[in-house]
């Protein structure tokens, strides 16, 4: 026994190295387990507070741009209001509560940390479980799709950006109504890749890609991007399509967290089908 201790002590540098390296690899491999643990609540609290204090400083630098976006949005909304006042006959636009139940709810959140330089990028927002945010909720902004909530603490949430190896979003090309899968293969944060569009249909540069609504997470028809390059890999029956994201994922300020009010019901239903 003494010899074993003496041996470990003699090579303590190597053993400690192996121990810490294995610990790091376990952390990488058990990401989901860690997110549910107590330590992650603690670290998310610390990092969240640091980020929100810092964004309190840096948000002043983007005030001008934000102002321009807001005023252009205001102008657009004002236009819609006057249009309604002059042309709409209110009785024909009556919305019955029972036939038009709301399916998606939107909540505004502020981005307090964002990255686009890693292979797996995450965004931190200043809304958490206290505000009703849960894992697997969609996050969009006024320009398009942004990501999915992956982990939640009382006041903050981590959002898996579209710029992530693990991000897979079901989307379709609007013009021809063909379904595919949106992924990000690293490199430029401005472009993503769309797979699984069958090679017998015709895809054109400039075609619009929007969410399909089949994932129970994203509402249907949220902009994803526009097609740029199209080719077919050797021996494949599907296109590989490079497209430009409609949302600027490298400069996010305000985003909307989307709640699907029927998600539980939809999941329950699909579970029944799969079990049979």
């Amino acid at each position: 026994m003494r010899h074993i201790f003496a041996f470990i002590w003699k090579y303590n540098f190597i053993f400690l190295f192996l121990l810490l390296e294995v610990l790091s690899l376990i952390l990488i491999a058990n990401r989901s387990f860690y997110h549910r643990s107590v330590i992650s609540n603690l670290t998310d609290g610390v990092t969240g507070n640091v980020f929100s204090a810092w964004s309190g400083v840096t948000s002043y630098f983007s005030l001008k741009r934000e102002n321009e976006i807001l005023s252009s949005k205001n102008a657009r909304l004002l236009g819609m209001v006057t249009q309604n006042q002059t042309t709409a006959d209110t009785s024909t636009y009556f919305v019955s509560d029972t036939s038009f139940a709301q399916q998606y709810k939107y909540m505004v959140a502020h981005v307090i940390s964002n990255s686009s330089t890693h292979r797996d990028n995450y965004i931190m927002i200043n809304k958490g479980s206290k505000h009703g945010v849960k894992a697997d909720m969609a996050v969009i902004n006024s320009e398009g799709i942004v990501g999915t909530v992956v982990s939640v603490s009382p006041n903050f949430s981590w959002v898996m950006s579209m710029l992530n190896k693990h991000s897979k979003v079901s989307a379709r090309i609007k013009r021809i109504n063909q379904m595919g899968t949106v992924v990000w293969e690293g490199g430029s944060p401005a472009t993503g890749t769309l797979h699984d569009i069958p090679a017998h249909v015709k895809v054109l540069p400039g075609d619009t890609i929007a969410s399909s609504g089949f994932s129970h997470i994203f509402p249907e028809g949220i902009m994803v991007g526009t097609v740029e390059e199209i080719w077919i890999e050797e021996g494949s029956h599907f296109y590989t399509i490079n497209f430009r994201f409609s949302a600027d994922l490298n400069s996010l300020h305000n985003v909307y967290v989307v709640t699907n009010l029927y998600r539980e019901e939809q999941l329950e239903l699909s579970k029944n089908v799969i079990n049979d």
Binding site: F13, L16, L20, I26, D44, V46, T117
Partner: protein, 170 residues
């Protein structure tokens, strides 16, 4: 000795803040993520005990990981370069036994020594990080490209910061 460690502890926190609040937002079209924080590992005293070197590097990496939600990634890379550090120092030429209180920075060891030493450390760190981050062999060209660009930018930043804050030996 305590004063020396005090400077190292201060550098630990300053570098983490600089890394997560400023450097992580510099974006070279998504092809590089310079890692200034490893300056902490580079500048630890020559005579530091091995276990402090490894554990402080792990804590450094873990802090960076908590801020970028990349659990274990930076910890693994930091521990790795901490492990090869004694070997790299021997390779670059360790100072003689009687020269105490030397620091592995430009001020004490000169630019050529520091350049050789940090080049090996930075390239090892960047290659380790991008490989672990991707874990896909077919992305090897992207990994090498990112290692090249990331190392060049990190190295220039390190040398610039070292020149700005170094204290000349009288």
């Amino acid at each position: 000795m305590t004063k020396l460690f005090g400077r190292d502890i201060a550098r630990f926190f300053i570098l983490i803040a600089l890394q997560v609040l400023v450097i992580d937002h510099i974006n070279f079209y998504g092809y590089a993520n310079p890692a200034l924080y490893i300056l902490f590992i580079l500048l630890l005293p020559f005579e530091i005990p091995g276990w402090i070197l490894l554990i402080s590097s792990f804590l450094l990496g873990f802090s960076i990981d908590s801020f970028s939600n990349s659990l274990g990634l930076h910890s693994a890379a930091s521990v790795f370069i901490a492990f090869i550090r004694p070997w790299v120092i021997r390779l670059a030429g360790a100072p003689a036994e009687y020269e105490v209180n030397l620091k592995p920075g430009i001020g004490d060891m000169g630019l050529r020594w520091f350049f050789a030493y940090s080049l090996v450390m930075v390239v090892a760190h960047q290659f380790f990080i991008y490989t672990l981050e991707s874990l896909r062999l077919f992305e090897i060209d992207l990994i090498l490209l990112k290692t090249l660009i990331g190392s060049a930018i990190t190295l220039s930043l390190l040398i610039m910061i070292e020149y700005l804050f170094m204290r000349r030996r009288n």
